[in-house]
Amino acid sequence: MDSYNAPESTPSASSRPEDYFIGATPLQKRLESVRKQSSFIPTPPRRKIPQCSQLQEDVDPQKVALLLHKQWTLYSLTPLYKFSYSNLKEYSRLLNAFIVAEKQKGLAVEVGEDFNIKVIFSTLLGMKGTQRDPEAFLVQGLILSPRLEYSGTILVDCNLCLLGSSDPSTLAFQVAGTAGACHHTRIVSKSQLPSENREGKVLWTGWFCCIFGDSLLETVSEDFTCLPLFLANGAESNTAIIGTWFQKTFDCYFSPLAINAFNLSWMAAMWTACKMDHYVATTEFLWSVPCSPQSLDISFAIHPEDAKALWDSVHKTPGEVTQEEVDLFMDCLYSHFHRHFKIHLSATRLVRVSTSVASAHTDGKIKILCHKYLIGVLAYLTELAIFQIE
């Protein structure tokens, strides 16, 4: 699909009506938006109910499968400086060497050498809200099994025919150089061979995306790539290493993205509002009561269809969710709970919401279950991430 070429083919960024800000530098625009944000209620009072997006149809289903049903830790990320999609191979080489060097502190490694850890960068085509959103991309850290020479020889073979060279030293170098290039084929081969043990185990996955990030895109120049939402799965120490590399290389800044109770209730309402063919999980809320010595957790599970029925009863504006509706929805839950247990939930803190669409924890953990509403969920998370970096 040509959506991959979209960023290059739409030079509309310059032709957009910007007369409103004429003469103002991006920094001042920034400040303006910060002022606007701080002076009003932090979030706009109405949002669209997530819909299945057209662009999302283009996403490689195998890659989407990688993103679903996994717990992701959320980070917000400031725009990447001088990031280029054409250099992904080079980045994976550098990051690979960086990780290995960090893992074996003090021991130098050659960039491009074959390690038992392998980093693969790949784009997530079509993972965007509008054509203007930059392409999302995925970074995977694989740990190769000890029987690495097997997969290694496959690569060497294909390089041998390419180079026609028999000098072992240049060979090693070339193999390293082309390893990144093969990643697409390798992923395909992975699916062809179900027993992909020798391919290596995915140790860490992270992806960068921007879904409907217009408000951020408007305020930065073309040297920057805005991917404000970063999701990581894997050991935090790995996230730290990889994050540090990105921070050093692209002068960006990662900060953990927590979701407060206010946003969680929005998520609860929006995700309940999604039309589902069949429900895979119950709708569940978790409140935490801060009391010593141990905090008390209150879990409240509702049958998803009941939740939907409740939502339909408070829902007024078609296709949209408003602040009043969210408040009303939550109030109904609270009063129902109070009627039965005589506990005022509004006095406690909402820490987790899980629905059939996705589940979110206040610590900034998310798990997306429904393929159809992936973009919708990410759009809201992008909005939160942008709010945090502005």
């Binding site: 920034r30 701080s38 250099n87 502190k105 130098a108 050659e110 120049s221 935090e236 800044y253 900060s255």
Partner: protein
């Protein structure tokens, strides 16, 4: 130079040409011959000559002995001689003594190096010679190159080689040029193979390596060595230097704790090195050494973002290298001409290279580098500013201890970080946008205690902008804290608002005179800017009036308020901005009726300055009638006159409640004060009464009862002189300017003609 000296130099020159040499004078002569461009050395020796004259006899003897010794070594060991050892020992002693005392001239070093490495004498002698090769000032590059060539012949033993490398590392800074030596890079690199030499060669290479020396094959060679020898600190250091120059080829992360990477080669020559450094004090520039920083990843949970909050300065070669394949010709040219940050040491360097500066890979690192702060300050390059903006806003937000719950254990770190930012802002005399945004976000959550002084200083550096826009975001929140906190908090808020006003005024006055593109998108006209400033002043007026009520007219608070107005009253003259705003009555009358003399004195001073400013404004208006936009309304003048009348009425004419403050006579009678009329003049005013009494006591110390009312007529002016002599300068200025003194109290002429 005196004729005698010139003669001596000629002599010296002759001697050098004959092949023998002496130190001190000959060195300068040699220098003249060899390197006429090197004027610094010549002049230096010129200065040294007078001293040399006094010690001439001693030196001469030493010199001759040294000549003989060097000559002896040059000829080589004489086989037949019976007392060979004795002579050798004597000459060695001579050389050692001179070397450790004064150092050796570079041509003597040349000869001795030659001897030590050629293996003419035994190992022990070679060692002793090498140990005492200490330069008087510099070592010529040629001798080092020659010496290295001896290493290839294989005539010297392993231990001599090691010693030579140690010597080379220790003396590296004193070698006059290094280009030739750098050409031998490959030779040195090959010597890494030798296990005994490896640590020292590593150190030498560490000092010698330039970017162009880093080649893929060398990287691989080093990695092979690493594989063979394991994690050696000297190898680590060299590798990390390679990584620094070629991050696309190699990656290494140094352990956090490691501090020492090289065996100390300098030990042998420690004192001598110090002496040479002292001799060279002037011209030798500090050698450039790259810092080996530990890696920046912190594997700690939660806070991996920061080892230290501010990133380490590093050129952005990383990102550039990444796009290697598509690098255009212009990029290549740019790169060769770009100036690496690590070499940036001085302001002139910055000015010369400002067009081709390699920017740091992480913009946040400029915060610790004053030179780059200059750069940030004048650069109009949006990406640079945006990168800095993003980094600073995110770091502030992340580090802020009250913005996120349970972040309190890092309080100290955050305070230090804020201090660094404030230092940078003071240095640049300019606030950062990120800090402003941070204040908007965090002020509503601030408890008013945490990092108070830092936080309020940040407030004072808010860049100039429209007051009505900033007010709901900032000042309204600040006001809540202000009214509910202690008097000390109130005072510090007023203090920081005073600084804010000053910063805004400075910025505006610069702006008016330089007329650049106005930085704020909203306040494009001067009128708008003035409006904003006057709103700020009125706001502070409102704050202070209310605070005075809350703190029941505390003198302490009033001091801070008047400090603020001391800035306000002088805007027209000091900053050349068309603005005069008077203080609110609540402040004026509190100050006028204060029991504290210094308050009253300050009030007098402020009134005097207001008068000056208004007079100047009036004069200007008369001169240029065109600039009508900024004419002060007659209301300002009326207000001022009203205050002035009250003040003169109280302090001078003893008609306090007539014109200025109007109090119903009936009420005054009810108070029961008999002579209320003069009860507020300079004599009877409660804050002056003590002065009046001590004045009278000074006049007639034996008097039992004093009658302050007796101060009138001539005594009145004596009394005034007494007051002025007590340091009441404000009062003096006020009375001199506003009261045309006629010895009788009634003869007052107030200038009310504005």
């Amino acid at each position: 130079m005196s004729p005698q000296k010139r003669f001596k130099n000629v002599q010296a020159q002759n001697r050098t040409s004959q092949g023998s040499s002496s130190f001190q004078t000959t060195l300068s002569a040699w220098k003249v011959k060899q390197d006429p461009s090197n004027s610094k050395n010549i002049s230096k020796h010129g200065q040294n000559n007078p001293v040399g004259d006094y010690e001439h006899a001693d030196d001469q003897a030493e010199e001759d002995a040294l000549q003989m010794a060097v000559g002896y070594f040059e000829k080589g060991p004489i086989k037949a001689s019976q007392n060979k050892d004795k002579t050798l020992e004597k000459h060695l002693k001579t050389v050692e003594n001179v070397a450790w005392k004064n150092g050796l001239a570079s041509e003597e070093i040349d000869i001795l190096l030659n001897i030590a490495l050629s293996g003419k004498f035994g190992n022990a002698v070679n060692t002793r010679i090498l140990k005492c090769i200490i330069p008087a000032t510099v070592i010529s590059e040629d001798s080092v190159v020659k010496a290295v060539s001896w290493l290839c012949v294989g005539k010297c033993s392993g231990s001599t080689k090691v010693l030579f490398y140690r010597w080379l590392v220790a003396m590296f800074d004193f070698i006059d040029r290094k280009e030739q030596i750098n050409l031998l890079y490959g030779f040195f690199f090959a010597s890494l193979q030798d296990d005994a030499l490896c640590p020292y060669v590593c150190h030498l290479l560490y000092l010698l390596t330039k970017k162009e020396n880093v080649k893929p094959f060398r990287v691989r060679k080093l990695l092979d060595l690493q594989a063979k020898m394991g994690m050696q600190p000297h190898l680590q250091a060299l590798l990390s230097l390679y990584k620094f120059f070629a991050p696309a080829l190699i990656s290494v992360s140094l352990p956090v704790r490691k501090k020492i990477y090289f065996k100390n080669s300098e030990n042998l020559w420690k004192t001598a090195l110090l002496a040479v450094k002292q001799r060279n004090r002037g011209p030798s520039p500090e050698p450039l050494k790259l810092m080996l920083g530990p890696a920046n990843v912190r594997p700690l949970k939660r806070k991996w973002n920061s080892l230290s909050v501010i990133p380490v300065l590093n050129s952005s070669s990383y990102t550039k290298e990444c796009g290697k394949k598509e690098m255009s010709l212009s990029d290549c040219l740019n790169r060769s001409g770009s100036f690496p940050l690590e070499q940036l040491q001085s302001f002139p360097q910055l000015l010369q290279n400002i067009h081709c500066l390699e920017l740091p890979s992480q913009m946040g690192s400029v915060l610790n580098n004053s030179l780059l702060l200059h750069y940030i300050n004048c650069v109009r390059d949006e990406p640079v500013l945006l990168r800095f903006y993003y980094w600073l806003s995110q770091t502030l937000q992340e580090e802020c201890i009250w913005y996120k719950v349970n972040n309190y254990e890092h309080g100290k770190e955050f305070t230090n970080f804020l201090d660094t930012i404030i230092r940078a802002e003071c240095f640049l005399q300019e606030g950062f946008y990120s800090c402003e945004a941070f204040l908007y976000k965090s002020l509503p959550l601030w408890d008013g205690l945490c990092c108070r002084s830092q936080f309020l200083q940040l407030v004072s550096w808010i860049p100039f902008s429209s007051f009505s826009e900033v007010k709901p975001l900032l000042f309204d929140h600040l006001a809540q804290l202000f009214f509910t906190s202690t008097i000390y908090f109130k005072c510090s808020v007023l203090q920081s608002l005073k600084e804010l006003l000053q910063n805004w005024l400075l910025w505006l006055s610069m702006d008016i005179h330089m007329k650049p593109v106005t930085n704020s998108p909203l306040e494009t006209t001067l009128g708008g800017s003035m409006n904003s400033v006057s709103k700020l002043i009125h706001y502070v007026g409102w704050l202070s009036t209310t605070a005075m009520r809350l703190e029941s007219n505390s003198t302490f608070l009033l001091h801070f308020i008047l400090d603020f107005y001391e800035k306000v009253c002088d805007i027209y003259i000091n900053y050349n901005l068309p603005l005069v705003v008077l203080f609110p009555p609540g402040i004026f009358y509190s100050a006028l009726l204060s029991l504290d003399t210094s308050i009253l004195n300050q009030l007098c001073f402020i009134m005097h300055r207001y008068r000056k400013n208004l007079t100047a404004a009036k004069k200007n208006e008369l001169v240029q009638k065109t600039k009508s936009e900024f004419n002060f309304s007659s209301k300002t003048y009326q207000e001022f006159n009203h205050y002035l009348t009250s003040m003169v009425g109280c302090l001078w004419t003893s008609k306090p409640f007539g014109k200025g403050i109007y109090v119903d006579p009936e009420i005054l009678e009810k108070t029961g004060v008999a002579e209320y009329k003069n009860s507020l003049n300079v004599v009877h005013h409660p804050s002056f009464l003590s002065y009046a009494v001590s004045f009278l006591l000074q006049e007639s110390p034996e008097e039992r009862t004093v009658n302050v009312s007796s101060i009138r007529g001539k005594k009145w002016s004596w009394y005034l002189d007494y007051l002025f002599s007590q340091g009441l300068q404000g009062l003096k200025l006020f009375i001199r300017s506003s009261v045309h003194h006629v010895p009788r109290a009634e003869g007052i002429n107030c200038n009310n003609q504005y």
